[in-house]
Symmetry: D2
Subunit: 144 residues, 4 copies
């Protein structure tokens, strides 16, 4: 009952269209680049520079969480029913290793696709595939 | 047993010293300003601009999480025993209202101060005191 | 907009009525006793026995989480609009100290009361007021 | 650096030995049965009865969290260095579907195995493989 399929007439966005949509927002400010866009999987990359680091020289946890939130929200958007919008209800991240030189790669996959909520899991890795963080977030589906 | 007091010889940093420490890092890049610095409570502010927003025009959840992570880590740093460093183990945020024009204010208060971990709770509010998000994060205390 | 008041004609349940409602469920099986019931605050107690402990002799984390989930769901129920039901979307617990002899006391207070979701925070303490755990949970409000 | 292998001389426990260890604790009280025991994966089952349900007749969220906490802690125990103990630092659960008749099956797999912490992910499914909940928990490794 509480499930939807990506709608046949849903937004058909590729990586370039997603980039255009995010112009002027945090995603562009940080330097996030969408590289794979599929209704069940969104992948983005982010080069690392000093402005994205902590005092200690590691990739800032806030960057890992912002990157995850961005790909999870984009993935939800791609599966929204017509006229619906989405908002993040909650997000939980476990930090597993310190990131250094990047580039970061974030891959969001779907854990639950319901009429009222979607749950996405995003793994952020660094060059070589080392897992830096795992985020699970719940997106509310809001019918206008 | 598993508790420490802010050490008498601990780092005595005021808001200016914290700002200097964060120069060139994500905190400065986003525009975070430390305004109150106490071993049990750290407050910071962040003006809102388009570059910190989502496609939908709300303050980006990643900004709220990065702000919380920054004040929680700074608060932990102020209470570290000599020679110790800290890393965020995990962070969980509930988003309670959409932020619009800011400025954001983040207040971190201590839930647990142990020898091995500290747990901080950060409330982010917007002008007028509306609660936008609540973050709880666990910091590991690492003895070198 | 996204807020509701405890409805004037809402369920008016006292601790005895809540206990009757929970007969035969996990709450009774564990031994949970509701002691204060208010639309913005629900308090329950739970005596500790060996069957609620871990191999190491501490109060089991699962007991702390089940206790929190029970009072948070009960508190949500008291504020539901007519004809609505509730389900827990997610729950996050930080464990701050090991519980030993109890009794446990759990106090749920409201962080957010919306039309679609409610967010409750539950503190579980042991005799003497020592904080054992802090749970934050999101309840979905489901209109039939 | 921050990683350990399951030690060659570590506790070699099979499902029966784990059951014996948990006698008289919450695991036995709920009816949890360990069915597969491997250093990187622990599986347990739990038949469902009314005493494990909510007022609404679903499997209680507290049962799903207690089951996950039990298998996650057991899995950590199997990989502890000699003389170490473990405690759950934090646990986060997303509830994805309501459980009804069971039996429940919980499978814990390792996300991170460090010297100071281990992170486990536990999926709880119902007959037919329907995913009811996903828990991620952080275990502290405590050297005495």
């Amino acid at each position: 009952m509480d499930s939807v399929s990506p709608r046949p007439d849903g937004p058909r966005l590729d990586a370039d269209a997603l980039a255009a949509l995010h112009r002027g927002t945090l995603a562009e400010f940080l330097g996030i680049r969408f590289v794979e866009v599929d209704p069940d999987r969104v992948v983005a990359e982010l080069p690392v520079r000093d402005a994205l680091k902590t005092v200690g020289g590691a990739v800032h946890g806030g960057v890992l969480m912002a990157l995850a939130d961005t790909v999870g929200a984009a993935a939800t958007f791609l599966g929204l029913p017509e006229g619906a919008t989405t908002a993040t209800l909650e997000s939980k991240t476990n930090f597993l290793a310190a990131g250094r030189n990047g580039p970061l790669q974030a891959e969001a996959t779907c854990l639950h696709r319901g009429r009222r909520t979607m749950v996405w899991q995003t793994r952020v890795t660094e060059a070589g595939g080392r897992l830096l963080s795992l985020t699970i977030q719940t997106q509310m589906v809001l019918m206008r």
